[in-house]
């Protein structure tokens, strides 16, 4: 008797899936492995060593990368905070108010940064800042980042808010809480996992951005991605492998955190 699972099994699909995962991970694993290569040639194996990691932090290019890393971090944290705050307010308006005039337009607006191709956003931003005479630098990078981080922060926050029925806020108001108190004491705590998730997502998106940052940064300012790109243009050096691996680890950690936080919130609020 043919088992039910046969209808779900297509021969070759498992192979393709494995191949897919292989292709996805191979380059990253190779880079990670070679980052521990002792020899200066990046393709011949010379023994395991942490030399390149040391070089990243203390070598001739270290100050440049360190400054770039600091810039990236500061911008990412600031942009994520701003984007999360803006996205939270927008999510409240979009999910808690039924229909209002301009709602579809507002939703289109929030999704706009996702729909415009990155290079177009980059050009538009550069043109804008030049036209109004705003000197390009850290501030322009920050502004551009906040804009494209908003939809990324918005997604988990809005999803979370939609899953919280408004009966809790009603109960709060029934018990003499003003609308503001109901928001602060009931809705906000219940939304925390979504807000955190949104923040982490926005943080990573900002940290990773290259193209837009490259256009609006002007001369003399580097973020980590632009610094890495500049270095790669001159040839892939072993310390690039080390930095890449470091960034790899950081990204994975943050995304896992974001996912875990989202999951925790779900479990916590399971009602019997």
């Amino acid at each position: 008797m043919a088992a039910k699972t046969d209808l779900r099994r297509f021969p070759g699909f498992l192979t393709i899936t494995v191949l897919c995962l292989f292709v996805l991970y191979a380059p990253l694993i190779v880079v990670a492995v070679y980052s521990f290569n002792a020899s200066t040639s990046i393709t011949k194996w010379g023994g395991t060593s942490l030399a390149w990691y040391v070089d990243v932090f203390t070598g001739p290019e270290a100050p440049k990368f360190q400054q770039a890393a600091i810039n990236s971090l500061v911008i990412a944290v600031t942009a994520a905070i701003a984007a999360t705050a803006i996205a939270t307010l927008a999510a409240v308006a979009m999910t808690r108010t039924g229909r209002f005039r301009g709602k579809t337009l507002s939703f289109a607006l929030i999704s706009l940064p996702l729909m415009v191709p990155e290079v177009v956003t980059a050009v538009a931003s550069l043109v804008f800042f030049t036209a109004i005479g705003f000197t390009t630098g850290l501030t322009t990078i920050l502004i551009a980042h906040i804009v494209f981080c908003i939809p990324f922060a918005y997604l988990p926050i809005s999803a979370r808010m939609q899953s919280i029925p408004d009966m809790y806020e009603q109960a709060a108001m029934d018990l003499y809480a003003t609308p503001r108190e109901a928001f602060k004491l009931v809705l906000l705590p219940l939304m925390t996992p979504g807000i955190l998730s949104g923040f982490l997502l926005a943080f990573i998106i900002s940290l990773d951005d290259f193209l837009i940052t490259n256009f609006v940064k002007g001369a003399g300012v580097e973020t980590l991605p632009t610094a890495i790109f500049g270095s790669v243009k001159q040839g892939i050096k072993p310390n690039i492998m080390a930095i890449s691996t470091l960034m790899l680890v950081v990204s994975v950690v943050f995304v896992s955190l974001s996912w875990l936080v989202g999951r925790m919130g779900q479990d916590k609020n399971q009602e019997t």
Binding site: V31, Y34, P117, M241, S251
Partner: protein
Amino acid sequence: MAAGAPMGGGAVSNVYKGNTAKLMAPAWAMIGIFLLAPVAMMVMYSFLTKEFRGGVIWDFTIAAYDQFFFDRGLFGDEPPTIEWTYIGIFWRSIWQAGVATIACLLIGFPTAWFIATRRPSTRSAWLFLVTIPYWVNLLIRTVSMKFLIRDTGPLNELLLWTGAVTEPLGLINTNFAVQLGLFYSYLPFMVLPIYAAVERYDFSLSEAAADLYSNIWTTLWLVILPVVKPGIVAGCILVFVPSLGAFLAPDLLGGAKTFMIGSLIEEQFKGSAGNWPFGAAASTILLSIVMAVLLFYARSQNKGSER
């Protein structure tokens, strides 16, 4: 479970309703001022005259578009002929993006299907595995791919060492390399929507088809694909659109022969050789193509849900 929809909405939505303007204001301000206005300005720039060292002179003209489409002035002595260089670049970009999309589809669909048909307890683990690479910086991923496939890279070393080839595969700086790079960049965008659609697929349809003498491949073609089509279409759009305007993959993995829109535009804004209006014009054209695709997609979605 939410308290009833029409009734439950009353008190809470009334509370926030009055404040929607205030709540949406920051988002409107930020995106309106720093994205909408800039895009409008960019379109306007495409109609200005190029300044010598980059930037613009406020002289309105269609010179940029003229340069893009025609090899002689539109209003010259002889009728203009089409300039194929730039159109060719756009066309190649569409083609590259198309190939990448198809590659993502051919690999992504089986992967999504496979994951969606795992036991619920392992499904999220598989999903996690597929999406982790995406969360690594695109630059890092593209650099890694470059490192892997270039002539002196580990892949060629391995092949040479095992004797499978006698000289390095000239993979880098080819169309293939760019397509591989695009595939690598956007694959999860194909997998996730298809996964979502397959997860919702009602397997009793497959059982009915089998009951009516269909083998699994006919079932796939006649029953499954039509049902999960929305997911497939979404995935294709999510891969095609970013691939079209991509910069990193063509720049790092490709060369002069594989020039794409992203590189063309980026070139216009670098240093003193650039032509800002021209770059703005190319960006405007790219934006129009993308918006047209998205609008078409949105329309087809609406039609579907109205049925």
